[in-house]
Amino acid sequence: MKVLVPVKRVIDYNVKVRVKADGSGVDLANVKMSMNPFDEIAVEEAIRLKEKGQVEEVVAVSIGVKQAQETLRTALAMGADRAILIVAADDVHQDIEPLSVAKLLAKVVEEESPDIVLCGKQAIDNDMNATGQMLSALLGWSQAMYANEVAVEDGQAVVTREVDGGLQTVKVKLPTIISTDLRLNEPRYASLPNIMKAKKKPLEEKTAADYGVDVAPRLQVVDTKEPPARQAGEMVGSVDELVSKLKEKGVV
């Protein structure tokens, strides 16, 4: 079996986000970038399936600017076998929408014929939570989003999903798309020798035009602004003081 893992290069989750003065978006110049945390979980899960002997090959793919190479090298250092970079933008500020990403991934799927696409639940920059579901629709495949546990057996996957009321288990036919939630696993760090080895692993470079996919956005950004700031509050000295403040406000 083969697993395809889409990984997105995003602002590191620890970085304090700054809105650009012209309202066009968030400032990403000279900001620390990392692999989307949910995608690290996806890479880890794919590697674990390989270590269990259920999967022969793990292919990582990223769509965006040339610098996404670094993100792919991280996936390779974690244990992916090879990588595909699809250059679809020159400017780091140009985000490729989930629909375009899904269309490009559908083309990669046609070429690579994976049994499973393991993606993240949500990119922590645009917070869309859409790509996996869209890809699944385009391919006419089953989907199992927000995975908390994955078991692959006899042409199907049994996936426990994190849902609003608790957990739901579904059985999906392969090929399928699975998206990762936070509790699926704890991703490993790449060791130094593996980082060195990753430099020699194959990383193929393509462009969106190679696949004939139009990546023009459907959503035009009108404005980006800071959220309304909260009024500064006060510190209370004791539980009694807290109780009387809350009573004053009429909330208890």
Binding site: D127, M134, Q143, G166, V172
Partner: protein, 308 residues
């Protein structure tokens, strides 16, 4: 404009609060038809018919819509979409699972977690864990939109819209439900509760999470948790509040032993009054709290429970 609002239904019952809040956004876009879809949906359809703003309710009852599997549900909505300009749903886990699939079937972008409707094509939504608010204008022929319910009021229920039964769409037969593990609870639902008490890693264990639950029960509150508390097994996954968990905006939010990482703040910073109890006076949660108490939670929380 014609709008199709997907009612939130679980186990045959309408989630009134989420659906009524999404209705407020839907109504602003045009005439609203509500879709009630499930293995059992007739009761939910009758409930939805009461929502102010509902012109009509479509009821699709079929075993294939049980447990709201994404593939058959999306196929039905995509088929119905022919007659509508907007497809709208409250941004629940189910809707987030289903709507992007619908959007891709229609070859349009999905617009997730909308916090304000500017006009029929233009929507505001949070990005980067709510650290920025972005307004986007869609050039798509149809708009598929999920609504962040915490920023909309619920419509009233005085209506009596007609209910029309419709047939099921073809079943793609791609997936199968196995089981649900849903917690039974008498507490109010997290996203609609007036008061939420949340615990973090500072609580230290599943047993000690009782301290938080006892305070919540005293206040008739829902219980929430930080990611760290859920990851550590102190609390179940469906209690997680934050960027990738639930978004809440109650009258009162009490954060206990939570540091206030941006990913947590993303899910609760629109609460009316925020109280933080933390032993570290430097904890970032105090920057958003209306009332901060620097104290050991194991002393302060039981004392608070007693004195309320």
């Amino acid at each position: 404009m014609a709008v199709l609002l997907i009612a939130e239904i679980s186990d045959g019952a309408l989630a009134m609060d989420a659906t009524a809040k999404a209705m407020t956004a839907a109504k602003a876009l045009g005439e609203v038809t509500v879709l009630a879809c499930g293995e059992q949906a007739a009761d939910a359809a009758a409930e939805a018919a009461k929502l102010d703003g509902a012109a009509k309710v479509l009821c699709a009852e079929d075993a294939i819509y049980g447990h709201r599997l994404a593939e058959p549900t999306a196929a039905l909505i995509a088929e119905l979409a022919r007659d509508y300009d907007h497809i709208v749903a409250p941004a629940t886990t189910d809707a987030k699972n289903i709507l992007p699939r619908v959007a891709a079937l229609l070859d349009v972008m999905v617009i997730s977690d909308v916090s304000a409707v500017i006009d029929a094509d233009t929507f505001e939504r949070p990005i980067y864990a709510g650290n920025a608010m972005q307004t986007v204008k869609s050039s798509d022929a149809k708009k598929v939109v999920s609504i962040r319910t915490s920023t909309f009021d619920a419509v009233a229920q005085g209506g009596a819209a007609p209910v029309e039964t419709i047939g099921a769409a073809a079943d793609p037969g791609l997936s199968e439900w196995v089981e649900d593990k849903m917690a039974e609870s008498d507490r109010p639902e997290l996203t609609s509760a007036g008061v939420v008490v949340s615990g973090g890693r500072g609580i230290g264990s599943e047993e000690d999470f009782r301290i938080v639950e006892t305070l919540a029960d005293k206040l008739g509150a829902a219980v929430g948790a930080s990611r760290a508390a859920v990851d550590s097994g102190f609390a179940p996954n469906d209690w997680q509040v934050g960027q990738t968990g639930k978004v809440v905006a109650p009258e009162l939010y009490i954060a206990v032993g939570i540091s206030g990482a941006i990913q947590h703040l993303a899910g609760m910073k629109d609460s009316k009054i925020i109280v933080a109890i933390n032993k570290d006076e430097e904890a970032p949660i105090f920057q958003v709290a209306d009332y901060g108490l620097v104290a050991d939670l194991f002393e302060a929380v039981p004392e608070l429970t007693e004195k309320l």
